[in-house]
């Protein structure tokens, strides 16, 4: 856990009071570690924050409000980040990571995430776009799970019907693109960084258990973060919440 804007009040001490903790994965990104001035060891960051904190904590907080309304779930009511290198990670069998197209995992994080996934943990990744970020993510996840293929999840996979029936994958835009669409700006679009087609991909273990679900060329986090914004189209927030509900129900039962 790290002291960032609106620091998390959760952590190991809160464990056990609730069944479910919406746990955000802390990881090292391409800018390396963080210093007090907001510089990474490899250069200045965007807004001086590491990539794992993107949309954090507003997205998490808003999402938790909606999640409690959607699912009958004994969920911890605050943001809850845990480092991939923290041994406590394995107490939270479902974790969420964003902007994974910028991750550059340390050896400890690789080991931690590998052990988490092999023990039965479930990882949801989101908000990365285009071939360059894909390559970056793929390089990192291959370090974690060498030899495991990444496959496209078919629409008849149970993850699309675990709670809501989802018949098609929607590209959820970031807040700027979404507002542009709402305002009807010419050329407004949902894609960014060359990521034109949204995908839901997965990595399975030897027994066919889904270990990682990859939301690529889409930004579910922004849809939760800006769900209250009248300029953010409801259909994207709806899809993002439905997909999240399905991933959580699936990840807690399969």
């Amino acid at each position: 856990m790290r002291d960032v804007e609106a620091p998390a009040s959760a952590g190991g001490s809160a464990y056990g009071t609730h069944e479910f903790y919406w746990t955000r994965a802390e990881y090292t990104d391409v800018f390396g570690g963080l210093d007090d001035e907001g510089f990474g060891s490899r250069g200045r960051r965007w807004r001086g924050r590491p990539f794992w904190t993107t949309d954090y904590p507003k997205a998490d907080r808003q999402f938790l409000v909606v999640l409690k309304k959607m699912i009958r779930l004994n969920v911890y009511g605050a943001e809850h980040p845990v480092s991939l290198a923290d041994p406590q990670l394995r107490r939270y069998p479902l974790i969420y990571a964003v902007e994974v197209g910028h991750m550059d995992l340390t050896a400890d994080e690789v080991r931690g995430l590998r052990s988490f996934l092999n023990a039965g943990g479930f990882l949801i990744v989101d908000d990365f776009w285009g071939p360059r970020e894909w390559d970056q993510f793929q390089a990192n996840i291959r370090r974690v799970l060498p030899g495991r293929s990444i496959v496209e999840l078919p629409m008849d996979h149970e993850i699309f019907s675990a709670y809501y029936q989802i018949d098609s994958i929607v590209q959820v835009p970031n807040v700027r693109n979404a507002e542009a669409i709402t305002r009807g700006y010419p050329g407004a679009h949902t894609w960014e960084k060359g990521g034109y087609v949204p995908h839901v991909r997965g990595i399975f273990d030897d027994k066919g258990h889904l270990m990682v679900v990859i939301n690529f060329n889409t930004d579910l986090g922004d849809a939760w973060e800006w769900a209250e914004d009248p300029m953010y189209p409801l259909r994207y927030s709806t899809y993002a919440c439905e997909m999240a509900a399905n991933m959580i129900v699936y990840g807690m039962s399969h």
Binding site: G16, E19, F20, M70, R72, N74, P93, N118, S253
Partner: protein, 754 residues
């Protein structure tokens, strides 16, 4: 010595009563005695001399005593006895004809040698004396009793010893005859599992004394013996078994011997057992799995040790029906929980468990997993008994009691008590007291005592097995040998949110943990409830035993625990038709009773079914035997059959009503020569003593049996005569007179009064 001093044996004095045979009034005799006594005292008091008062008193007392003894003789004391009239009474002689009579005594002779010696006409003085006084009737007995003409009819090949049955049979055969008593010659090693009391009460009522003659050594030494082994009659393939074997020994204390468990010549487990101190039993615990379906004959044995007297009591065999069936369990969870995911994964490779999950995800929205059809559980938790009864086990997760209607709560209780299903209550924020379960019909089913609800309670606990848990297969964590406690210690702590410290009376805690308040926290407990069983597993996150960073990835404890828990949950859950046999194994020609319990689809007993047993012999001969309703018990049908071949019999039973099949069940019976007679084969003196004492007879050993004919004459029933036996000429009285005179003389000499 007694007989020398008092002229007759003690039994005479026990049976008779004392009287005085002198003519005239006793009062007159007493007056005369008083006068004589007074004269004696006066003589000693008034005589002149140097004797002091004390000397005079002592001598006067001795003289008075002497006069008293002489007076007693003059009163002619007699022993009044009721004795059996010679040659007017019968005596039944019952001889043990079982295999244990072939065992050797310490001196190398067989137990049966004594019988031969005792009962061979012309060679036995005892037999001659008995024949002179009584008309003898001989019986042989083992598992049954029958008349024989003499010792020639004995084969010592009986497979069981039924003392009560033998006494009953002889009493009935001789009823109506003047019976002086029964003589029972046996080692007393009864193994018929039949209480003696009824037979003894009947003999008491008929006034027939039993004279028991115990043969054989009381202690067979040196020897090792395995106690009876208890195992379930049927299990699912792959289930773990933990079996406690009691090993007793004599003359082999502190020896270490191997205990081998084998099936079909394959060794399943082996354990070293260090025997206890002399005569003290030790309990050897063996753990093994049975992976192949079908009837399995499991043999527990300790190889014969050098010098052992009886080798055939070193092994026990049991029959286990290993079933390869898919047992359907409903797991209802009130909210998404990781327990669902990890429990499903734990049993996903188990072909014998179908874990159907119904998980509430919103108020009226459910996730259904592993259902057989689109309709199954479509409406949520079952609303009818028939819907619920299709499952053999029920797991209730963190769900508040108010979710259910009263009828559903009652249905859950009935599922356990009437249907005989297994229910497992899991801990959680909405379970037990915190879920409002107190005061519901289901609370009674729970094996734990619900305390006051404390929604804020949270404790981290380190789980450990109780002594009962160490012996329970469900909590072994796959330990094949050694103590599973070490495996439990290696698991990380988990959390509980339900404060439970007590189990119900009759329930057993298998896992506990120290609680923060110093008391204990119950982790796993179970109890029988009606026909079924109820389990409570309190932790909310046992999946940490897999997910915790402290647990190596290859540690299978979590999977093993839940596989065994769910197997245990459905183990022994009755089917519509349940077949049991009264024997695990039988001998050729031994009658076997089969009992079938029949219920309908609502698990209500059926008394008007047509129940047919189909018995297939080892050679493939099929016979059908109808089973009849017992009338005593609802839904219970019995039939008997007598196996005529050695080997494995398959017994199938099917029940139908109005042409509709209610169900069927099958089991196996092995027929082979039994070794039962070689277990606990030492002479049972206490049993034989009890038979004699409670019927008014006596107990003898080969060394004391010579007085038997005379004793029967004195103590026996039948046609009797009253006899008076003089006691005045008892040597004891003469010795007393001489003694008193001698003492007086000696006293005078000592005191210088001669």
């Amino acid at each position: 010595v007694f007989e020398f001093l008092f002229k007759y044996r003690p039994v005479y004095f026990e049976q008779g009563h004392l009287a005085l045979g002198a003519p005239g009034s006793v009062r007159l005799w007493l007056v005369a005695a008083a006068v004589l006594g007074a004269i004696a005292v006066a003589t000693y008091t008034m005589a002149r001399g140097r004797a002091r008062v004390a000397d005079r008193a002592v001598m006067a007392a001795l003289r008075v005593l002497l006069l008293g003894v002489l007076l007693l003789c003059l009163l002619r004391p007699v022993l009044v006895l009721s004795t059996v009239a010679p040659q007017q009474n019968f005596v039944g002689v019952l001889v043990d004809d079982s295999r244990s009579m072939q065992l050797q005594n310490e001196d190398g002779t067989r137990r049966s040698n004594f019988v031969t010696r005792l009962l061979t006409p012309g060679q036995s003085e005892l037999l001659q004396k008995l024949s002179d006084r009584f008309t003898l009737r001989f019986f042989r007995f083992s598992s049954s009793a029958s008349r024989i003409d003499g010792p020639g009819g004995l084969t010592y090949d009986g497979t069981h010893t039924d003392l009560a049955g033998a006494l009953d049979a002889a009493r009935q055969a001789l009823s109506g005859l003047p019976l002086a008593g029964l003589v029972m010659i046996t080692d007393g090693a009864d193994n018929a599992d039949r209480p003696l009391t009824d037979a003894l009460v009947s003999l008491q009522a008929a006034g027939v004394p039993v004279f028991t003659v115990g043969v054989g050594d009381e202690e067979v030494s040196p020897d090792i013996e395995l106690g009876r082994v208890e195992v379930p009659r049927s299990i699912l393939t792959g289930s773990a078994l933990v079996v406690d074997v009691v090993v007793t020994q004599t003359g082999m204390h502190r020896t270490t011997v191997p205990l081998i468990v084998e099936s079909d010549e394959r060794i399943l487990a082996q354990e070293s057992v260090t025997l206890g101190s002399e005569g003290e039993p030790v309990v050897a615990r063996v753990r093994f799995h049975l992976d192949e379906p079908g009837p399995r004959r499991i043999r527990f044995r300790i190889p014969a040790q050098p010098g052992e007297r009886v080798e055939r009591n070193n092994a026990r065999q049991v029959q286990i029906d290993v079933r390869s069936e898919r047992e359907k369990i409903l797991y209802f969870e009130g909210e998404p929980r990781f327990q669902v995911k990890f429990m499903r994964r734990a049993v996903e490779d188990d072909d014998n468990i179908q874990l159907v999950v119904l998980q509430r995800t919103a108020q009226s929205k459910f996730l259904r997993l592993e259902v057989d059809s689109a309709d199954e559980l479509a409406g949520g938790f079952p609303r009818t008994r028939a819907e619920l009864d299709r499952y053999r086990g029920l797991v209730l997760g963190s769900v508040e009691a108010s979710f259910f209607t009263h009828d559903q709560l009652q249905m859950i209780a009935d599922f356990v008590s009437d249907r005989g299903g297994g229910v497992l209550f899991l801990g959680g924020h909405n379970a037990f007291a915190e879920g409002g379960w107190a005061g519901t019909p289901v609370e009674e089913v729970m094996p734990v005592v619900l305390g006051r609800s404390d929604p804020k309670f949270l404790a981290e606990v380190q789980v450990a097995p109780t002594p009962a848990g160490l012996a329970h297969p469900a909590v072994q964590l796959g330990a094949q040998d050694g103590d599973p406690s070490e495996r439990w210690k290696a698991l990380p702590p988990i959390t509980v949110v339900n404060r439970i410290s007590e189990v119900k009376p009759g329930a057993t805690a298998l896992l506990t943990a120290p609680a923060p308040d110093g008391d204990r926290q119950v982790i796993l407990a179970h109890q029988r409830y009606g026909r079924g069983k109820a389990l409570a597993f309190i932790p909310q996150d046992s999946w940490l035993w897999q997910m915790s960073a402290d647990v190596p990835l290859d540690n299978q404890s979590f999977e093993t625990f839940w596989q065994q828990m769910l197997r245990w949950l459905v183990d022994g859950v009755p089917r519509p038709v349940t077949l049991t046999l009264d024997h695990e194994h039988a001998e050729r020609g031994e009658s076997v009773r089969l009992t079938a319990s029949v219920v309908d689809s609502s698990y209500l007993a059926v008394d008007d079914a047509t129940v047919l047993a189909r018995i297939t012999s080892p050679s493939g001969v099929v016979s059908e035997v109808p089973a009849d309703w017992t009338v005593d018990r609802d839904g219970e049908y019995v039939a008997q059959f007598v196996p005529s071949e050695e080997g494995e019999y398959e017994v199938q039973v099917s029940a139908a009503r109005d042409g509709r099949v209610l169900g069927s069940d099958a089991t196996y019976l092995r027929t082979a020569p039994s070794d039962d007679e070689f277990f606990s084969a030492g002479r049972r003196t206490r049993t034989l003593d009890r038979i004699a004492e409670e019927t008014g007879g006596r107990f003898y050993t080969p060394e004391t049996v010579a007085s038997l004919p005379e004793d029967i004459s004195v103590t026996g029933a039948g046609v009797t005569l009253v006899e008076e036996k003089d006691l005045w000429d008892m040597p004891a009285l003469f010795i007393l007179v001489v003694l008193l005179m001698g003492v007086e003389w000696g006293y005078r000499r000592t005191r210088g009064l001669v």
